[in-house]
Symmetry: C2
Subunit: 349 residues, 2 copies
């Protein structure tokens, strides 16, 4: 009893009495054969249950897999719950999809500087928010196209928003209200973990060239211009952009005595700002009267509640689209900086 082997293009060709090349063309280049024959081939294929050319064989022969890998810095659990990463991914997926490509999802966290099996067959890599020192980058096939998003890889195109100017702008706006005690809540600045208040002086020590560093520089510039010494403005670090991780740090800030509690918090993400907003309200603090808050990102959640969040809006979906277009070669692969928009809400009018 012969095993009912999967039917191949060759079987189909033999069955029809045509060459394999012709069958291949029937599927891939309709203009290379007469419509009648093509019709006959497709009909026979359906009859025999042939599901079209095998993707594995095709990818070996053509050298292309029609797979684009997206490598995220953090764990998937984290990234998937982050509105910004999610938006980026959906922008990527939108373009890939329209071009018949698919998305392979990888997290730098869980791979030990070695690409897992199939990842190396991707046609291109979109790498998001890694620390530039990440060794993983070296294990990627050097000839494959790569786009870095929200960080830089030497010799490769990268996609950014204008973090420094945007943060300068929103901080300047916030400082125009002449707060007495401004404070800053950072996202992770370095590869090393750090959650909580930062000792003045150590603050930029070892900070790699990341978006958080740019944002911080923007804040500092505005503080400086407003007559505050950036070196003594209190600053806290949040290791992971989640409610769970940021809540304890923020609670500690809000529970400071009235004379020490900041009356303005410049936050590096909307997630953090919204957490602060919720926790402040729980404590009976009025926003913006007792506490002014600014965010960064412009996620939807911040605009659907009262008070609406004052923030810098960036279009992460578009960032994802651009990254995908560059990887697919639909757009010249060169580094770009996308514009942002100051978004005046009620949390810091």
């Amino acid at each position: 009893m012969p095993t009912p082997r999967r039917i191949t293009l060759k079987d189909l060709a033999r069955e029809l009495g045509v060459s394999t090349a012709t069958v291949s063309n029937a599927f891939n280049r309709p203009d290379q054969l007469s419509p009648a024959l093509r019709e006959r081939i497709l009909g026979e294929a359906k009859r025999l249950g042939y599901r079209g050319p095998d993707a594995k064989a095709r990818s070996l022969r053509t050298g292309r897999s029609r797979i684009i890998a997206v490598i995220l810095a953090e764990s998937l659990t984290y990234s998937l719950n982050d509105a910004v990463a999610s938006e980026l991914l959906s922008g990527v997926a939108e373009v890939l999809d329209a071009q018949g490509h698919t998305l392979l999802l990888l997290s730098a966290r869980q791979m030990q500087s070695e690409l897992p099996g199939a990842a190396s067959m991707a046609d291109g890599y979109i790498v998001y928010g890694l620390m530039p020192s990440e060794t993983l980058l070296e294990s990627l096939p050097p000839q494959a196209p790569l786009v870095a998003v929200d960080f830089d890889v030497t010799g490769r195109p990268s996609l950014h928003v204008d973090d420094e100017p945007a943060c300068h702008l929103i901080a300047r706006h916030a400082l125009a209200s002449r707060p007495r005690r401004p404070g800053i809540i950072n996202l992770r600045l370095t590869a090393e973990p750090c959650n909580g208040p930062i000792v003045p002086g150590q603050r930029l020590l070892g900070a790699e060239q990341t978006i958080t560093r740019s944002r911080l520089l923007g804040f500092h510039r505005a503080l400086d211009e407003a007559g505050h010494d950036p070196a003594v403005v209190p600053m806290w670090n949040i290791e992971e952009n989640t409610f769970e991780v940021s809540a304890p740090v923020i609670e500690a800030i809000l529970d400071l005595p009235d004379t020490e509690r900041p009356d303005l918090l410049l936050c590096m993400s909307d997630r953090i700002a919204l957490t602060a907003l919720t926790l402040a309200e729980e404590r009976g603090l009025r926003v913006p009267e007792d506490l002014r808050l600014t965010g960064f990102d412009g996620i939807a959640e911040g605009q659907y509640r009262a008070p609406r969040l004052t923030t810098v809006r960036q279009d992460s979906v578009e960032k994802g689209r651009q990254a995908a277009r560059m990887i697919l070669g639909l757009e010249a692969p060169r580094s770009r900086t996308l514009a942002t928009e100051l978004w005046l809400g009620d949390s810091c009018p």
Copy 2:
């Protein structure tokens, strides 16, 4: 000038004066050759810049790609922002990763019942929350393993939680406080879009066998037992489990005159319940005094605010892990129902 062709396993073998089989074994079956030779091969590989066996060729030859596809019902934009889907994905990713597999992400929304190119080379499919009638299911390779999550595919293993009993339980708990006007907020029940109030009588019409239907049946059973006629209990549909889509519907409910506004809302998801909570507070309604709320899922966000949400906690990460284990053959592929837990918060004590 010859193009610097990529170095292959065969080149490496020639260079070393050994057979290709031996080089292959050096990478895949260390026990099949002497440690000394293996060392020599790996050393030479590194020296020549050989990055290990080509994934495309390997997958053709072995028939396995080490890729598992996850197919989500909704668009990626939606799914990635949904805490439950995200948890599922991270459970899947956790197991895949430990086994050297990678995750291909697909959305049923954007593929027109045709698998995009590379998707057909996946070694298995985890399909999440589709409508059972989805034609897409037929385009999947029939011999590949498949696990359905939160819905059923005939002849295939599926993963569920005990939706009906869980909803019966939480509804019974909520009804014990003898609310005058209970109401229900559904997630999408049918393939057809519907957002807003549902005409009594039409409610289950055409509802496919999905988890939302099971949940609704659980609510109805409890209502019936508590002396409420399920047929006249008001019910609203939410098409998409997001703040943006649910907010208008919920606002309409909350803005009903006092004599009509429900004093208990049984919600099919925490996302909806939390939206209702936020909007209720904005209107000065006290929870639970003026309005009791129950959710479903047990997402973290519901437990980090006051009042904490009363809900049914399900372990979506574990659901993802199980699905992945079944797909990889680490666990026998049979349908399972996972347990849930009634979680008493303050929104309906």
